[in-house]
């Protein structure tokens, strides 16, 4: 069976629930499919492809976001943490059915499964795309930051199939369509290839995090290399406390050891945020960072360099020392009553991932 006219979205699921990044990808896949139909005059279908121990209840809602079909490959051994088995099953499905395009959410799971599938079927994969389009030749155009973050570069996979891309949660929006009908479902019993017994799961520990996740914070205070020191970084933490926000960082700030950890980095290798308010201090505006914050609500940037690129992506520009502005802002917010017994209005930003 050849399904050259299919676009697949690989869905990550665990204990009967699926990661919402799937809906974001399905929304975009639906857009790609209609563009391909215009160009080629044939029908393109979007399939959500789930691998796991059982079918996922509620998956039918994917129809509303643009999925025409849901293919579930069930096997008792397809437990979440055996990424090797998921990849093996997906690779055989791809070889059997030959989709034109396969998209993965670049979660930790997807980032491990996607390159494995690509290597198995010997095709190209563009990692951490910040946009996907179809060009006039009907090829998938995958945009990634290039040349040290100064520009976005296209990656194409002109010959080998499928064309494969991974996209971080939050890059696309899940937009329900106005459509009537129901989703086609297909449940498969895949065969696990032999010899896949060299990995064994010994122990799983789920950690609960108490902080508002960066992707869900209504206010993001972001700091870059220009913040200058660990002491100054504390001012950003204080601001976040007053505003009920969460602190994010750029890569240099992470490398300096000022920031909270890898999961607080914003950008192509980190999180995509869309808070109501984004306050950036000492950030130059590399594309690697900008792609992770450009859709925020109100964007303030504080930088000593009046020509900093970040200002092109900001609503309000402050040309000044990060420390001086952060300290004054803290005093001002306290005087205005911020932070006094708050927690009331820590709303979610418009684009939360809401994983699982």
């Amino acid at each position: 069976m050849d399904n050259r006219n299919d676009i697949w979205v690989v869905v990550e699921s665990s204990s009967g629930a699926y990661r919402k990044v799937a809906l974001e990808l399905i929304s975009r896949a639906a857009g790609l499919a209609s563009r391909l139909m215009e160009l080629r005059g044939t029908r393109f279908s979007v399939w959500a492809v789930i691998t796991g121990t059982a079918t996922v209840p509620g998956a039918e809602e994917m129809y509303r976001f643009g999925a025409d079909g849901i293919m579930t490959a069930c096997h008792p051994r397809l437990e979440e943490h055996r990424t090797d088995l998921h990849a093996a099953v997906l690779a055989s499905l791809v070889e059997e059915r030959g989709p034109e395009i396969v998209l993965f959410g670049a979660t930790a799971w997807g980032s491990e499964v996607a390159p494995t599938v690509a290597a198995r079927v010997k095709t190209g994969l563009a990692a951490h795309c910040v946009d996907l389009r179809i060009n006039h030749r009907g090829l998938l155009v995958q945009l990634v930051p290039a040349f040290g973050g100064k520009v976005l570069g296209e990656i194409l996979c002109p010959v080998r199939r499928p064309q494969m891309a991974s996209v971080r949660p939050g890059v696309f929006r899940a937009e329900p369509l106005d459509r009537e009908g129901s989703v086609e479902t297909l449940v498969l019993q895949p065969v696990i290839p032999s010899g896949m017994d060299r990995i064994e799961v010994l122990e799983v520990q789920q950690r609960e995090s108490s902080k508002v996740p960066l992707e869900e914070a209504g206010v993001v205070i972001a700091g870059g290399w220009g913040v200058g020191s660990r002491e100054n970084w504390q001012l950003l933490e204080d601001l976040a406390g007053l505003l009920g926000g969460t602190v994010g960082c750029t890569r240099p700030a992470l490398d300096e050891g000022w920031a909270g950890g890898e999961d607080t980095m914003i950008g192509v290798s980190g999180k995509t945020v869309r808070p109501k308010v984004y306050l950036g201090f000492g950030i130059s505006g590399s594309t690697h960072h900008v792609v992770g914050m450009k859709d925020s609500g109100l964007v303030f940037s504080v930088n000593t360099n009046p020509e900093a690129d970040i200002f092109s992506f900001s609503d309000l520009k402050v040309v000044a020392d990060a420390r001086a502005v952060a300290s004054a802002l803290i005093e001002g917010l306290k005087a205005a009553g911020y932070g006094a017994g708050r927690l009331a209005s820590i709303g979610g930003g418009p684009g939360r991932d809401g994983s699982v």
Binding site: H81, D84, A108, E112, T116, A119, R120, K122, T123, G124, L125, H128, A146, G148, K150, V151, L152, G153, E154, I155, L156, C157, P158, R198, I199, E200, V201, L202, V204, R207, G244, P252, S269, K276, V277, V291, K294, G297, L298, F311, S312, S314, D315, L316, K317, V318, A320, D321, V325, A328, E331, G332, L333, A336, G337, G339, R342, A344, S345, G347
Partner: protein
């Protein structure tokens, strides 16, 4: 417990201190890297440190492997000075333009040529490419089990290792049968500093250069030609914002910012 022969993949990346100097040639659309020194990809030093610790505990050998232009001998000397026993540089014009599938094919061919390798360690991702794909694909070319996001590696009994991984809010401990490919994250360890005696010792260690002709390559996946992905046009991200200037003393600026924050619906 038996000795473990580990290969660590190290990639030279442009030194972050010179990031500002890296420019783009507007005509050829290629990255201008001339005169920008390279360093070992930071996570690859963590991988090397993990390998050295395994050798200290378990005995064995640590070899470093890099597919890079000839100038990367400097980076490999640094790895030798850190404590690796030998280094292999894979340099050939035919490798230029390799994407991750082509790169991992070349690395896999070198691991095969070395033979009797128990463990391959890599960084989880490289600081310049950042694709985080090479390690899994290397595992596939070799047909070995592979895991990413390792924050702990413990050699175990009868040809197995225990690997702790950290993904999102989840830690998973695996038992993996060697040979295997494992990629590490930053918090697995703190790479050691180089000592003077390390530098001196490095001068006497083998640093071997292999070209394509020395390796059992898969010609269908070689270099630019054999890479499934191709680079297309480049775009400047379009700034969509007005960027109004807030002027005055820090206090005045802060007062103006607070007004805007309030109007954006952020209350106290």
């Amino acid at each position: 417990m038996s000795a473990i022969r580990t290969v660590v993949c190290v990639k030279p990346v442009p030194s972050p201190e010179y990031a500002h100097q890296a420019g783009m040639d507007p005509v050829t659309k290629t990255l201008v890297r001339q005169g920008i020194p390279t360093v070992i990809n930071p996570l690859d030093k963590n991988a090397l440190e993990a390998a050295l610790q395994i050798r200290e505990k378990q005995g064995g050998e640590v070899l470093v492997l890099s597919m890079a232009p000839p100038a990367a001998v400097e980076n490999l000397r640094e790895a030798l000075a850190m404590g690796a026993d030998g280094a292999y540089l894979l340099s050939d014009r035919a490798f230029a333009g390799s994407d991750t599938l082509a790169t991992s094919m070349v690395l896999a061919s070198a691991v095969k040529k070395l033979g009797a390798v128990d463990l391959v360690l890599t960084g989880n991702e490289s600081a310049d490419g950042g694709t985080a794909q090479v390690s899994a694909q290397l595992g596939e070319w070799l047909g070995w089990p592979h895991l990413m996001h390792a924050c702990g590696i413990e050699p175990g009994e009868d040809g197995h290792i225990a690997v702790d991984t950290a993904r999102d809010n989840c830690r998973v401990k695996y038992r993996v049968k060697l040979p295997a490919v494992i990629s590490v994250v930053r918090n697995i360890n703190s790479p050691r500093f180089i000592s003077i005696s390390g530098v001196i010792a490095a001068g006497k260690k083998p640093l071997v250069r292999w070209t394509g002709g020395d390796l059992p390559l898969d010609g269908d996946f070689l270099g630019l030609e054999g890479s499934p992905t191709k680079a297309g046009d480049i775009h400047r991200p379009d700034p969509a914002r007005r960027c109004e200037l807030l002027e005055g003393s820090p206090e005045e600026v802060a007062a103006a910012m607070i007004e805007k924050i309030k109007s954006a619906g952020i209350q106290w």
